[in-house]
């Protein structure tokens, strides 16, 4: 069972629709017990980091704990940004601190938000990207990006004036700045890969 964390921030329904579409057993919940018992956890979200951390409240510690203990975790968009140490969106906000890095504004010059499909270079040997080749387009919608400093993290990049972290893996912790649930067949493939990772981990 994969648990999608519903903490009232954004497009939980879109993520749920996509995960159900691939035939995955899924529960939408904000109960600590469900998160603890899940085979894997998806942390979605759109909006601002500070507000999201506030709404997560004590659940943030539960997510941190299960991730550190090895449960597969996939952060999507804002959920991806929450994986890092801190965010500079409307002030400085502590995030989950699971991967070293900070979330900062995309420098001006191009249209902001970074909205639409951009080409992502996919690193080899990352299970989340298995079967997708070396590069694919994915759907983005964000104004801040993660500056990742964690030497243990594998990072997929896209270019938007500068190189922007599009996805990350550190051990059992995964994140996508883009929306796999909204990236057509390629995105659904990523969700399928995550389901496989969860199954393998729970076996």
């Amino acid at each position: 069972m994969i648990v999608i964390i519903d903490y009232g921030v954004g497009n939980v329904k879109s993520v749920t629709n996509a995960v159900r579409h691939i035939g995955c057993d899924v529960d939408v919940s904000c109960e600590p017990e469900d998160v603890e018992n899940a085979d894997g956890v998806i942390l979605p979200g759109v909006g601002a980091c500070g507000y999201a951390m506030k709404v997560l409240g004590p659940l943030a510690d539960v997510i941190r704990k299960v991730a550190i203990n090895g449960k597969p975790l996939l952060g999507i968009c804002l959920g991806f940004q929450l994986l890092f140490d801190e965010s500079y969106e409307h002030g400085v906000h502590q995030c989950l601190g699971l991967i070293a890095g900070r979330v900062i504004p995309i420098p001006p010059g191009l249209s902001i938000p970074h909205m639409g499909w951009n080409l992502v270079k996919l690193p080899e040997n990352v299970k989340l990207f298995e079967g997708l080749g070396s590069e694919k387009h994915f759907a983005f919608a964000h104004s801040y990006y993660a500056d990742i400093t964690d030497s243990q993290a594998a990072v997929a990049y896209t270019n938007y004036g500068i190189d922007i972290a599009a996805a990350v893996q550190k051990k059992n912790i995964f994140g996508c700045q883009f929306h796999p649930e909204k990236s057509a067949g390629e995105g659904l493939k990523i969700l399928r890969n995550f389901e496989c990772i969860c199954k393998e981990t729970s076996d």
Partner: protein, 257 residues
């Protein structure tokens, strides 16, 4: 490189997709769930669903229809038509929309844009502008509301700039003069708005020939093109449009064959 987006639009009335000319003379164009699924599968970059009777706030069946369409749409999905409150945006996002477009209510209450952006993030706040040329003045356009039926004296460019400041994350710009005519997008209007704002601009109204799509992306500086008739009536497939654009060095996501 960020690609230019090709976006089919479902104008919905009484649970059916319809399409008119200059917002009038509507004719049936199909089932929204079927069309939505088809476009998502065929490589559209986003899908827009507009309730042209503007009854989202009072009509449960529309929200249920949004839910049904969303179940099979795995590309960004924008919903609009009669939204007046931030709570309604919350409801639509929970129903499977990824973005909401606001038109008349934003003109009457611009703070709605700010409130929506604060609550849901500006990436899901789309300001829809129905623009009409202010004749006889050249290159001047005014905002119309209530599905184009009510002109205002608001200047389109000024409104676009203000909306960006308030928190709109994108502008869906429809030329009332061109809509449904297949005579080509209003290039001057689109370029004028795109030059004035930093947020993405979706050009809408007038898609006809493949050339007109390429033109508005190049000379019109649009980030995306929205079209209805040419896709609903299968004049062109999404694939054909994208191949044409790619041949003209416009970056697009071709996706699967």
């Amino acid at each position: 490189m960020l690609t230019k987006r090709v976006i089919p639009c479902l104008d919905v009335k009484d649970n059916r997709v319809v399409k008119g000319v200059n917002f009038l003379n509507l004719r049936d164009a199909g089932d929204p769930v079927e069309l939505g699924t088809r476009y998502s599968d065929e490589g559209a970059d986003e899908l827009v669903f507009l309730d042209i009777t503007a009854t989202i706030r009072s009509n449960k069946t529309i929200v249920e229809l949004v839910e049904k369409v969303a179940e099979n749409v795995f590309i960004p999905f924008t919903v609009g038509g009669g939204i007046t409150k931030a709570d309604e945006i919350g409801l639509l996002l929970r129903s499977g929309a990824d973005k909401c477009s606001i038109n008349t209510a934003a003109v009457r209450n611009p703070d709605l844009l700010a409130e929506a952006a604060q609550r849901f993030g500006n990436q899901c706040v789309v300001l829809a502008i129905d623009a009409k040329s202010t004749k006889p003045k050249k290159n001047k356009w005014h905002v119309t509301i209530k599905a184009g039926s009510e002109p205002t004296d608001i200047d389109v460019i000024e409104w676009a700039v203000k909306a960006q400041q308030l928190g709109a994350g994108e502008i869906l710009l429809t030329s009332m003069d061109a809509d449904g005519t297949k005579a080509g997008y209003d290039i001057e209007l689109t370029a004028a708005v795109a030059d004035a704002v930093d947020i993405p601009v979706i050009a809408s109204g007038g898609a006809g020939t493949l050339e007109s799509l390429a033109e508005v992306l190049k000379r019109g500086k649009a980030d995306a093109v929205l079209a209805a008739s040419i896709f609903h009536y299968e004049q062109y497939s999404i694939r054909q449009v994208k191949e044409y654009l790619a041949e003209r060095q416009i970056p697009v996501r071709l996706g699967k064959n």
